[in-house]
């Protein structure tokens, strides 16, 4: 498959700060590629290097077969980080405005339908909800029907419902063959949407691959987290292979079928607990293992891995 984006040894510094440290990656045509990392990892600088809005100090970039500066601007779409369009225009007027900047554009009604804003098309941007505003912004990037779409943290600051709605939209775009380059600090977002994920830290790409492969390779096994009520038991005396934690103990490599057996064993041995949580490994575990801590949203929300709570409660013998 032909590469839509190729970056080779990109480096960029801002004073003493290294924003990009020799990054190389490729994004295949039609793929959803997610760049994941905490704030300050260099995600936006990489997007700007790929879209030609900043110039790396060294390295080369090819976008749709040419340099970013020579790329056919009719073929790409960009949603910049923290983008704010003119706020006293309606959703329809904003889409019409941006459509007017291209030689060829999609009918505005079609774009409004794509982003689910047909019923609020005459509402000023400033009066829309956060999720609706974000959908207008994504709609703005779709007016020229781009082959390659850059979305720089498209769901930051919007509620879960708005986020789900945007995920559906990106999935729909992908199914229609649009190449999507997405940055996020929400692991779940990358895991849900992306064909491949690049984990980024301090200007470097730590690992690249399909999310399920990364989880399989680096995520470790499933485990059962036991939050004990008081007096953490001596794990060495238990008949299960457990590790002590701050809140209780952690039993690694527990399949769903084995949960009952482990719980019975703990009960028999007099372990009192507040809750039991069975957890599958996630992309967050991969990131934490490969890049250390530091991942998380601006509000500290890591937006969690795929966690399945099986049991909650306490048992008293």
């Amino acid at each position: 498959m032909a590469a839509a984006v190729t970056a080779d040894s990109l480096s960029k510094r801002y004073g003493d700060t290294v924003a990009l440290d020799g990054i190389s990656l490729t994004v295949d045509t039609g793929e959803v590629f997610a760049l994941v990392g905490p704030n300050g990892a260099g995600k936006t600088t990489l997007v700007r290097s790929l879209t030609g809005t900043t110039t790396p100090h060294s390295g080369s970039v090819e976008v749709l077969g040419t340099t970013p500066e020579r790329t056919d601007k009719e073929s790409i779409g960009l949603l910049p980080q923290s983008f704010q369009p003119p706020e006293r225009l309606t959703a329809r007027e904003l889409l019409t405005y941006y459509a007017g900047l291209y030689d060829e554009s999609r009918p505005v009604d079609d774009v409004l339908a794509d982003v689910g804003l047909e019923t609020v098309d005459d509402t000023w941007y400033t009066n829309l909800s956060g999720g609706q505003q974000r959908r207008v912004c994504v709609g703005i990037t779709l007016v020229n029907d781009p082959d390659l779409l850059f979305l720089d943290e498209p769901t930051t600051g919007i509620d879960p419902a708005g986020r789900q709605s945007l995920w559906s939209l990106v999935a729909d775009l992908s199914s229609r063959g649009t190449t999507v380059f997405l940055t996020t600090h929400y692991m779940e977002e990358a895991e849900t949407l992306a064909d491949r994920v690049a984990l980024m830290e301090d200007g470097s790409v730590v690992e690249v691959g399909p999310p399920e492969t990364l989880v399989e390779t680096y995520g470790g096994g499933t485990h059962l987290q036991v939050e004990t009520t008081r007096n953490a038991p001596d794990v060495a005396s238990l008949d299960v292979d457990a590790e002590p934690t701050e809140d209780g103990l952690r039993v690694p490599d527990v399949s769903p079928e084995d949960i009952g057996t482990v719980v019975d064993t703990l009960d028999r041995q007099g372990v009192e607990y507040e809750s039991l949580t069975w957890t599958e490994p996630s992309l967050e575990d991969v990131y934490l293992r490969l890049a250390g801590d530091g991942i998380g949203g601006e509000d500290g929300d890591t937006d969690g891995p795929a966690v399945e709570a099986v049991t909650a409660g306490s048992e008293q013998r």
Binding site: R48, T51, G52, T53, T54, T55, K73, E74, I76, G77, L78, L79, P80, Q81, S82, F83, Q84, P85, P86, R88, L89, E93, T96, Y97, Y98, A99, G100, L101, Y102, D103, W124, I140, N144, F150
Partner: protein, 248 residues
């Protein structure tokens, strides 16, 4: 053709954005009216005496118009650039076919419209409140247009230099206040020290004020001033285009 369409799209957006900011509309038209009311109707001119307003009202008409063509583009374009930067709109625009020249042309067009309207209102109020009778010339239109182009370009430079809307307003005032009083608008050159008088020629506003005075008050040709102003318009439009952020 597509360039014209892009300018049109940007200009329509800028026009509606302006009209929907009520305080901006009020002060854009209210500020020059307050000035006319104070100096034209309250202080009044004194053609036979001395002092700052020692000439008939017609002498000061270029000054009133100069205030509009100077302050409005400087603050509006500068603030627009600050707003666009804060919302990362230039980053977005730089990935569309729109160019900085088209952006500046569109916003200049909107300013020309606003300033022509404001000028008409000011001239009407002067006619109503003072002893001055409207003496228009067809050359007034190109004078206003070229002056707006000059100060839109300068506004773009200020917008680039200042890093916020507050900074733009402060910088605009710092540039505009000296210009408005040292460009043959309200203060006649004879009232200034002899050593300073050559510096008047450095202000683009001088050519606007001289030219408008020639065609509306002295009834002389203003073509040489118009030519200088046209050249300055080309230079400042180029500088403004260069100053518009291409992001980073």
């Amino acid at each position: 053709m597509s360039s014209v369409a892009r300018v049109g799209s940007e200009a329509r957006t800028a026009w509606w954005s302006f009209l929907r900011r009520r305080t901006a509309v009020f002060f854009t038209f209210g500020f020059p009216l307050i000035l006319v009311a104070i100096f034209g109707a309250v202080v009044q001119t004194n053609p036979t005496g001395s002092g700052l307003f020692g000439h008939p009202t017609g002498y000061y008409v270029p000054g009133y118009l100069a205030i509009i063509v100077l302050f409005t583009p400087l603050t509006r374009i500068g603030s627009s650039i600050a707003r666009y930067r804060e919302g990362n709109r230039f980053e977005k625009l730089s990935t569309t076919p729109a160019t900085p020249a088209e952006w500046l042309a569109a916003h200049t067009l909107v300013n020309v419209g606003i300033i022509l309207l404001a000028s008409a209102v000011v001239l009407g109020v002067l006619e109503l409140l003072t002893d001055w009778s409207v003496a228009l010339s067809p050359l007034l239109l190109p004078f206003v247009v070229f002056a707006v182009v000059v100060f839109c370009g300068l506004g773009a430079v200020l917008g680039r230099v200042a890093d916020s809307q507050d900074g733009v307003v402060a910088a605009s005032n710092a540039v505009a206040l000296p210009l408005v009083f040292l460009s043959e608008t309200f203060v006649a050159p004879a009232m200034l020290p002899a050593w300073f008088r050559p510096a008047i020629g450095l202000s683009p506003l001088t050519y606007f004020a001289r030219g408008v005075r020639n065609v509306t008050y002295l009834h002389e040709s203003g073509l040489s001033e118009l030519l200088v102003l046209a050249l300055l318009a080309a230079v400042f439009f180029g500088l403004g285009t260069y100053a518009i952020p291409q992001y980073d």
